[in-house]
């Protein structure tokens, strides 16, 4: 059965919506037989967006593949907090090699499976934005260009959080990190989804931990394709973003509602769907709750920086048609 996209417009619990659906259309996490791929007991910080995102993605992948998937993980928070020897939180086959080579290692896994004729087993690579947009980009681009049968997931929290919040290529303009104490004055963060689309790979999608149903849908949909696929998930980091550990979902939702983080899908390099913003907000609403942008609202307000971020959000809104009404079919 093809993946059916289900939208819930009520906020809060998904329970009601789930009950009205056929059991196999209910959310993966609502299923008591879910894999628990990344199980409890790991050492992520409270409110970690990456831990939440990884669990939802991998459980969805495991359901989509009938528990026939192996995982390759780049160095980073996800690897460190989940595998302090002799403990492991992974209930899926899992391999860590290095910071910059997860896509190439995943390629090797896929090649070995192909040589062994194991078409039933699928490969998932994952890493943070440091391992993906910076140090591992050459390997990732190679994997895209060869169209290797790998789903690669980037959990983007906009910085090197594992080493103590330093700037990465995905750090947004204006954000304070320990290596950009006055605020990141470089670009607006590298958009790897657009780079991935330029490779014309079968499937590229973005998602956030604010819409977990959508995240599950995209991970599931990705497994319907063969070849290189890329899923970019916005995962707030309470430590690096200087937000409360209870604000992770809220701040991720604000990133979407302000247009800062466009949520879309692309097939073969063409955008096929974008999540519309129902109540557009100014970027200030997204920036204000975060300590990493506090300097923009201090004694000397940095309206110039805010308007630059607003301009970037406006461009996203235009490019992806984020405020256009949903097509009714």
């Amino acid at each position: 059965m093809p993946v059916q996209r289900i939208k819930f417009y009520q906020t809060g619990s998904f329970a009601v919506g789930n009950r009205l659906l056929d059991p196999d259309q209910r959310s993966v996490q609502a299923d008591t037989a879910r894999t628990n791929s990344l199980t409890k007991g790991h050492r992520a910080c409270q409110g970690c967006g990456e831990a939440l995102g990884a669990r939802y993605v991998l459980d969805a992948v495991m359901r989509a593949t009938g528990n026939r998937a192996v995982t390759v993980n780049a160095t980073g928070c996800l690897e460190v907090f989940s595998t302090p020897f002799p403990e492991s939180s992974w209930r899926v086959p899992w391999l860590h090699s290095l910071f910059g080579n997860a896509p190439a290692v995943a390629t090797g896994v896929a090649a070995a499976l192909r040589a062994k004729g194991r078409t039933d087993v699928r490969v998932v690579g994952q890493g943070g934005d440091g391992g993906t947009v910076d140090i591992g980009l050459a390997c990732l681009s190679g994997m895209f260009e060869r169209n290797d049968d790998v789903l690669y997931i980037c959990y983007d929290n906009g910085g090197y959080m594992n080493t103590g919040v330093q700037r990465s290529g995905a750090t947004p303009h204006g954000a304070v990190t320990t290596t950009t104490p006055a605020g990141n004055s470089f670009g607006q963060g590298k958009s790897l989804p657009l780079i991935a689309m330029a490779h014309r790979i079968p499937y590229v999608a973005t998602a956030t931990v604010a819409d977990l149903r959508d995240l599950e849908y995209k991970a599931t949909r990705a497994m319907e394709f063969r070849g290189a696929r890329y899923l970019h998930v916005l995962v707030p980091c309470p430590l690096g973003w200087r937000t409360g550990s209870g604000e992770t979902i809220q701040v991720a939702r604000l990133a979407v509602e302000t247009g800062v983080f466009p949520v879309f899908e692309a097939v073969d390099g063409e955008v096929t769907d974008a999540t519309r913003i129902r109540r557009l907000r100014p970027v200030e609403d997204y920036l204000r709750p975060q300590g990493r942008f506090a300097h923009l609202f201090g004694d000397t307000p940095r309206d110039d920086v805010i308007s630059r971020i607003q301009a970037e959000a406006d461009r996203n809104i235009r490019t992806f048609g984020l405020t256009e009404p949903d097509e009714v079919s």
């Binding site: 020897f85 209930r91 899992w94 860590h96 090699s97 910059g100 190679g142 260009e145």
Partner: protein
């Protein structure tokens, strides 16, 4: 069957007969002919089931090999020089994870200055990476060592580097007995991995290890290399019984017994060294040669046994430990404390090592006129002019 064949092609055919399931590589001279030949064999379906992966870098090549090996596939790659350095981080990873990858290193100098010709700087810079390093003396041995390398790697769950001199061996055409498919199959059993990524039995490979266990992991790596010292000669014996020729092992001694002077060397230079020594012996000079095939693990006991009784040892090195001198000399000195050892740095960046130079060198050595560190055929006037300018 014996045929006139280029070294690279002989290695490619031999590797093919070891039935690798994943072959990957990034082109770099002087290694390219090997993977070119393998890509043709894979494309023709002759190697099926085998995947040839064209990667974006040597770092990618070793990473693909790591992923493939961790999935239980027999994985092979080849590189040289800067390429080996570019994959250095992944080299430590492959050995740390205990993945039996086999790799050919077509030995070449490291820049700057850029130089594509042969010496051993590349492989020796990865001395402590945890890889087994075997050095081929000839193209016949290069081919044979690959068959043995897969056996050794898979028996120990350790990666093995087969080092063959760039151009001097890789591009030389000579008569070689390329191991046949039947012989290889009789010698090399199918790969039975120790642990694999398998959805039916999920395991975590590559967990983070803290101070409470890291020393133990490293100790075990060392222990594995100590065991390799027993496995390598046993595999070489097996090889000799199956193929009716002797290749590999830890060391090869050539007239060492009772010799007053013994020259220690690795790789293809051994041919010229032996020719020179033959001449000197015919003139009554008491001199022998010890070829080291296994540089890592370093076979200290075997070296000690062969060097016992020598009055002096000359170590011919094709790499330089800048600021110190010899790389192999240190290991030899550790093996035979008290024996005078001279280090000779020779053939860097493809400088020819001639019989004439060696003859003069050994004559000096026998007469105890050799400095502790000598650069063979160094152009004194050039360096002195430069030193004068900079002082």
């Amino acid at each position: 069957m014996r045929s006139q064949i280029e070294g690279s092609r002989a290695v490619a055919q031999t590797v093919a007969r070891c039935r690798p399931e994943v072959v990957c590589a990034y082109p770099i001279s002087p290694q390219t002919h090997i993977v070119e030949a393998l890509s043709v064999l894979v494309a023709s379906g002759e190697l099926a089931p085998c995947e040839f992966v064209n990667v974006e870098s040597e770092f990618g090549a070793m990473s693909v090999a790591i992923g493939a090996s961790a999935t239980g596939a027999r994985a092979y790659t080849a590189t040289a020089s800067q390429g080996l350095l570019y994959m250095a981080e992944a080299l430590y990873n492959a050995s740390g994870l205990g993945l039996p990858i086999v790799m050919t290193v077509a030995n070449r100098a490291i820049g700057a200055p850029i130089n594509i010709w042969n010496d051993h700087s590349d492989a020796m810079s990865q001395r402590d990476s945890g890889w087994i390093q075997l050095y081929a003396e000839s193209n016949q041995e290069a081919a044979d060592l690959h068959v043995q390398a897969f056996r050794i790697a898979e028996e120990l769950s350790l990666p093995v580097m087969v080092c063959m001199d760039g151009f001097v061996l890789t591009h030389a055409v000579e008569g070689i007995d390329v191991p046949s498919q039947e012989q290889v199959e009789a010698f090399l059993p199918p790969f039975e991995p120790r642990q694999v990524l398998d959805p039916d039995a999920p395991i975590t490979i590559g967990a983070m290890v803290g101070p409470e266990a890291f020393t133990e992991v490293r100790y075990l790596a060392h222990e594995k290399h100590r065991r390799a010292l027993e496995v390598i000669p046993r595999v070489a014996d097996d090889f000799a019984r199956t193929f009716w020729r002797s290749s590999g092992g830890l060391v090869h001694s050539y007239g060492c017994l009772g010799a007053e002077t013994i020259v220690v060397a690795l790789g293809s230079v051994l041919g010229t060294v032996k020719d020179t020594v033959d001449e000197l012996r015919a003139e009554g000079v008491s001199i022998g040669v010890l070829g080291v095939t296994s540089f890592r693990p370093f076979p200290s006991d075997a070296v000690r046994a062969r060097l016992r009784g020598a009055r002096r040892v000359v170590v011919l090195e094709r790499a330089l430990a800048v600021g110190m001198g010899g790389i192999v000399s240190g290991d030899v000195r550790e093996s035979v404390p008290g024996t005078p050892i001279s280090t000779v740095v020779a053939g860097l960046g493809g400088r020819p090592v001639t019989k004439k130079s060696l003859r003069a060198l050994f004559t000096d050595a026998v007469a105890d006129r050799l400095e502790p560190l000598t650069f063979l055929d160094l152009k004194r006037d050039v360096v002195e002019r430069e030193l004068g300018r900079t002082s």
